[in-house]
Amino acid sequence: MSVREPVIFEYSRAGRGAHDQWPAQVPAAALDDLPAELLRKRLPTLPEVGELETVRHFTRLSQLNFSIDTHFYPLGSCTMKYNPKACNQYAMLPEFLARHPLAPESQGQGLLACLYELQEMLKAVSGMDGVALSPMAGAQGEFAGVAMIRAYHRARGDLARNEIIVPEAAHGTNPATATMCGCVVREIPVDAEGDVDLEALEAVLGPQTAGIMLTNPSTLGVFERHIAEVARMVHDAGGLLYYDGANLNAILGMVRPGDMGFDVIHMNLHKTFSTPHGGGGPGAGAVGVGTRLLPFLPIPIVGKEGERYRWLTESDLPQSIGRLSAFMGNAGVLLRAYIYMRMLGREGMRQVGEYATLNANYLLKRLQDAGFDAAYPRRRASHEFIVTLKRQARELNVTAMDFAKRLLDYGFHAPTTYFPLLVPECLLIEPTETETRDTLDAFVAAMVQIQKEAQEEPARVTSAPHTMPVRRLDDVRAARQLDLTWKPTARP
């Protein structure tokens, strides 16, 4: 068991510091124009530590993490594929880093060319007619998408349309987004094979329908086979179709949301286009739209006139839903996605969809052959699939959570657990295309071993993990005895 790494403040010593990083002290007279009542009376309680202690501390913290660079990370719905080093290196060229967001377009034609071409490539792979890059995460892309749907209906004087239909298995962001856009959420069930229940859909459609939000392949890891019928029904009712791009990796280069009938899509560039997850962000949630929603795209967008690129803003798009970020969204993330897409090229796009699907179906079959239960055994896996441990929970009292924690001891990040909620004791497993067959086989071996432990020595599994920096954490205590900032005094 490792020793605890102190909180950085515990290293602090009055008067210590990384002095070489500080600018020279300015004479007091340089500050004499600032009114005393607007000044800080005490310095903030920041750590006083040297550069080496800082480097060691944060390097040690990094070593407490699992990451793609160190571990297989089969986290369903998150597409934890390899983040190529070239994408980081060339997005961090000094000129790109130094460019101010308000610098003139003439000082950024290289950057703008990359962003323009990224828009064009995303249009091509999504089958959409326009793309805006500024949303800074998938959830913000969702927000932009639903806001555009609202703006579209409103512009047509169709003011009653305020309902967004969401399948019960959808990501929590879908209903949360609909609420943020001032809509009412209508949840509909899926059938026993994981497809949308068309009768239930018919029953909720009407003159109040703004649109439907779908992920396809769905969060159940299967392709929505009735998608053409769903699109016809929703369009006939006057609604629009929103594509949640969380699972775009499954069909990249194989099927395009635009061809399925979707009117608007967000694409998680940190999933399908391999920009880093960064321990929670920054992501990028570019949005694509069909012709009907083009006038409503969020600004800014990159336009091209002859050989010159420029930002399109309010004056170019007077009906735009507006601005989502102070500047141009996560430009540095967009550059990484651009570099990735250029390295993959047309053929590479198709290979992503193919090999992500191959890996998922292989892993599913191997786990089934080893005795694990698929949630949808009669369906093909998309790029991910669900294993349900309902039987193990009932017979052995070992849950999906226990398997997940024990996998950490075997050097594998846990799959997504307990999502989607409608499948009991589920593990949502997404291997991605960048993993070798050997890694997948090793994962199966670990699952088989854990199953054996669950039968012979269940406490070993239910008390896992045993080899991580900490054991299972007391979440109830965390929420009840809130300790959100470090204090020099004793803890609560």
């Binding site: 550069e51 190529p84 290196q89 141009m328 846990a414 809130l482």
Partner: protein, 457 residues
């Protein structure tokens, strides 16, 4: 090819295990008429060597100018250690820390970040960050509507001295939820929000007042009086602050008698490169009594089953993956890497280094304004002190003057004509600790030449 490691033998064996002949067979549930016909819009693949050459050419083409631009994004020295550590694969390629036992590094770092942001703003609690300063301000407005139970109006008073892009983002984000943003005028002589701008709201139901300090013009608002005015009327105060400035300026938690209720701001100045606008991060801090109304991820310290300290995401009952349509926000990430950079940056600067940085930026800006206003045809737009930005008025159109400066390798500031037409030919200029006396002199002399080349309006 696409970073796919499979050998032909792997593929054959895997297909054999699945029981299909070709990869194509795995797509047999997809209706054939939906399959892709053309990806013509995607060019052929480039090798890493080729893409490296392309990107280097484009970067070189953009170049690096001597910049006096501010307006919400600021050039500061970034210690080499900051990004050397931030881009370590263990931070760079980790996911959101749902599996706490396998994410203690990221979680402890966020806890340290929350502590630093709370200290800097003088507030009790912080979240793990928002997308950027503008989105944080918009979320703060939504949060204020939830937190101020005595107000029914969802009216937010927004000084025109708030960054104009923040005003637009607030509108985009919150207008569909019925929030109303009411602009407060600024004094034409001093460029700050005046007490008489508040008079029309006397006796009315108002939910919150936003105050940016320093404001968009770089001027210092009378934060104590504004905060006390609001609190005397049960109006919440949302502070929008620059984190570098807080090395020197009074923190929001000490504004007026009771302090601001929510503080937000753009985190970019804390070790995050300008990078054409992102990725940055927004920070948000508040009083403990409002913590359950705060959006975004929050990390707490707790104990593991062996009694050892550990860190975990907490108060998740506010969030979309639990509360779905009733969540405080749809946000489900923070800006992890940028937060990592900021936490390392603040550790290296510490209280003294941050104060020195703030003081140097202020001193350089005073020198810049003094130098530029010696040029005939240039004067300060507003009376009174600035932090590290100032508005200058020119006697001829700012656009051509800026273009003339650009051809001399200088980005001379932001033309305010599109934002504040009433200011006439005005420039927002900024200097930080990165500018030397020689840089300022170069700007002064180039401005003199540039003005001579542009005819007065």
């Amino acid at each position: 090819m696409a970073f796919i490691p499979h050998t032909a033998a792997d593929v054959a064996a895997m297909l054999g295990t699945i029981g299909v002949a070709r990869i194509e067979d795995l797509f047999d549930e997809i209706p054939p008429h939906l399959r892709v016909r053309s990806l013509a819009g995607v060019p052929e693949a480039l090798t890493e060597m080729e893409v490296g050459r392309l990107m280097s050419e484009r970067a070189r083409n953009d170049g690096v100018a001597l910049s006096f631009l501010g307006g919400g994004a600021y050039e500061h020295h970034i210690p080499a250690a900051v990004w050397a550590i931030t881009t370590r694969g263990e931070f760079y390629s980790a996911y959101t820390p749902y599996q706490a036992e396998a994410s203690q590094g990221t979680l402890q770092l966020i806890y340290e970040f929350q502590t630093m942001m709370a200290a800097l703003t003088g507030m009790e609690v912080a979240n793990a960050s928002m997308y950027d300063g503008a989105s944080a301000a918009a979320e703060a407005a939504l949060m204020a509507v939830r937190a101020n139970r005595r107000s029914k109006s969802a009216r937010i008073l927004v000084p025109r001295t708030l960054h104009p892009h923040y005003q637009r983002v607030a509108l985009t984000t919150a207008a569909n939820q019925g929030l109303k943003f009411e602009p407060l005028p600024y004094g034409s002589e001093d460029g700050v929000t005046r007490a008489d701008a508040l008079a029309p709201y006397e006796g009315q139901d108002v939910t919150a007042l936003m105050i940016q300090q320093p404001n968009f013009f770089g001027r210092l608002e009378a934060v104590d009086a504004l905060t006390d005015w609001a609190h005397a009327r049960a109006i919440l105060v949302i502070a929008v602050v620059n984190p570098t400035a807080l090395g020197l300026l009074k923190p929001p938690g000490e504004w007026g008698t009771r302090g601001a209720d929510i503080a937000v701001g753009e985190g970019q100045p804390l070790g995050v490169p300008l990078s054409s606008g992102g990725p940055y991060f927004g920070f948000m801090t508040t009083r403990m009594e409002y913590v359950r109304q705060m959006p975004g991820r929050i990390v707490g310290r707790t104990l593991d089953t062996a009694g050892k300290d550990g860190f975990t995401l907490t108060l998740q009952a506010r969030e979309q993956h639990i509360r779905r349509a009733r969540a405080t926000s749809n946000i489900c990430t923070n800006q992890g890497l940028a937060v990592t950079a900021a936490t390392i940056y603040l550790s290296l600067l510490g209280p003294q280094g941050l104060r020195r940085t703030a003081a140097a930026a202020h001193a350089r800006t005073r020198e810049l304004v003094a130098a530029l206003t010696r040029v005939p045809g240039v004067r300060s737009a507003f009376a009174g002190p600035c932090f590290h930005e100032a508005v200058l008025r020119l006697d001829r159109p700012a656009g051509p003057v800026l273009e003339a400066l650009r051809t001399r390798g200088i980005l001379g500031g932001l033309d305010l004509a599109g934002y504040y037409p009433e200011l006439g030919d005005a420039l927002l200029v900024c200097a930080t600790e990165t500018k030397t006396g020689a840089d300022i002199e170069r700007y002064r002399s180039a401005l003199g030449e540039a003005l001579q080349g542009v005819r007065a309006a």
